[in-house]
Amino acid sequence: MDKTYAEINAKIKEGKAVVVTAAELIDLVAEKGLAQAAREVDVVTTGTFGPMCSSGVFLNFGHSAPRIKMHRVWLNNVPAYSGIAAVDAYIGATEVPEDDPLNSNYPGEFRYGGGHVIQDLVARKPIHLKATGYGTDCYPRREIETTFTLDDINEAVLFNPRNAYQNYNCAVNLSNRIIYTYMGILKPGLGNAHYSTSGQLSPLLKDPYFKTIGLGTRIFLGGGIGYVAWHGTQHFPFIQREANGNELGPNGGTLMVIGDLKQMSPRWLVGTSYLGYGATLSVGIGVPIPILNEEIARLAAAKDEELYAPVVDYGEAYPNRLPGNLGYVSYAQLKSGKITVNGKEVPTAPLSSYPRALEIASLLKEWIQKGRFLLAEPVQLLPPPTGQPEPAKLK
């Protein structure tokens, strides 16, 4: 009864594939049982929409006459990296203007950064380009200042080194002062708890052993079609366990993704600012999971009640890289609006949008049902969970 990619794609082309969102799969398994659901369903769609700092866009502007070898580049006053070929540049999501006050007026606002440039680009707004060069015999021009839109340039490729974190810390603040973090504003003395995945809809929580996701997996990226290019940086997947050995779901996996920015949409690439922390980009990603066998269906049907996030203190433990955590909470508890930490009831709030994640999973489902989106069999699967992740430590 196992299925192949080719069989599923043949059904998609005929318009006969059975596609459900990860949320719908959970209901289907409850209703019909795992074996029946795994037989019926061909593809499960997932989604996530949240801030993903390790994101950016490679651009090629085309050549001016006379030519310039761009040594420094600014887009809407935000510096882009230009240490590549003459008119190539990379605009990173967290870059901010050189005259941004940063945290000198704490907490800084970081109102406009690389993520906002990317959203303006994809919204096809005019972008102000300034570049300087030092002049060479083949590239004599020393300065250019102009405006362009996404349609005017040769290429714009979204290439994000680390996206779609499999799972993430639930952030709290044990200190006695308010802190401003990439997990939002955290009030002192366990005043609130912030989390940031879509739980039962989140792509990498639904394929914890990377049995289907790998290099070349075709995905929903920023409203267009993208691909998994590699495992993301800091990809250290493992299965969380309690002291008694009980499994608490996966954590630590990440994706490196790539796609043509010109197909994408400002609804799914949103410039984002965290008070006191910085600028970034909220990215929408959806990964289709082919139900090749019952085991893949079982893992894709994991519920919020079975998926857990570690609770981590961002007042002291996180910034100082102290090991350990304050326990685990399930996504069902997180979504209920309150959890208990150190005996205290703490209100919770997400930073990643569940409604947008559901919209992505539903859009991807529609694309597949209409035959617009075929599954791509990975060239190579991503590294699976290891027993004991050992991230590098800077000395």
Binding site: K187, L275, K335, P350, L351
Partner: protein, 133 residues
């Protein structure tokens, strides 16, 4: 009568007049200052909870003095085109005016519960919360 919340805007030329004193003394209104930013020779704003039989007459007095009077609910607004329903504001809002609808997890804004503290303007990562003047 239930208290009403109003936002008062004072232009620079009337910021040094004892307007609130007269409002309380002459119109016998019970007021609670929720927020105030008043400086000599500068424009000022104040958020007031007001209750009393002469409420309407009191507000007319304010307008007559050149104070711009608005209902509080007009003050903070959610730009629904920008809001991504992430929820980052919901544990920051002190009054529960911003909250998550369950199980959809959509962000809702109950402007009646808003006290115009502006915390959501800081907490919103996409600047969807706007102060409208």
């Amino acid at each position: 009568m239930a208290p009403k919340k109003v936002v008062l805007r004072f232009s620079a030329d009337i910021a040094d007049k004892p307007i609130i004193y007269r409002l309380v003394k002459d119109y016998d209104l019970v007021i609670n200052i929720l927020k105030a930013n008043v400086n000599p020779q500068k424009e000022g704003t104040m958020v007031l909870e007001v209750r009393g039989d002469l409420y309407a007459a009191g507000l007319d007095y304010l307008r007559h003095q050149g104070v711009l009077v608005q209902d509080l609910t007009q003050e903070i607004a959610r730009n629904e085109d920008l809001c991504t329903d992430c929820g980052a504001c919901t544990a920051i809002c002190p009054t529960g005016a911003l909250y998550l609808e369950r199980p959809s997890m959509e962000v809702q804004f109950d402007s009646d519960a808003c006290v115009v503290c502006y915390l959501c303007l800081k907490a919103c990562p996409v600047r969807a919360m706007e102060a409208r003047f």
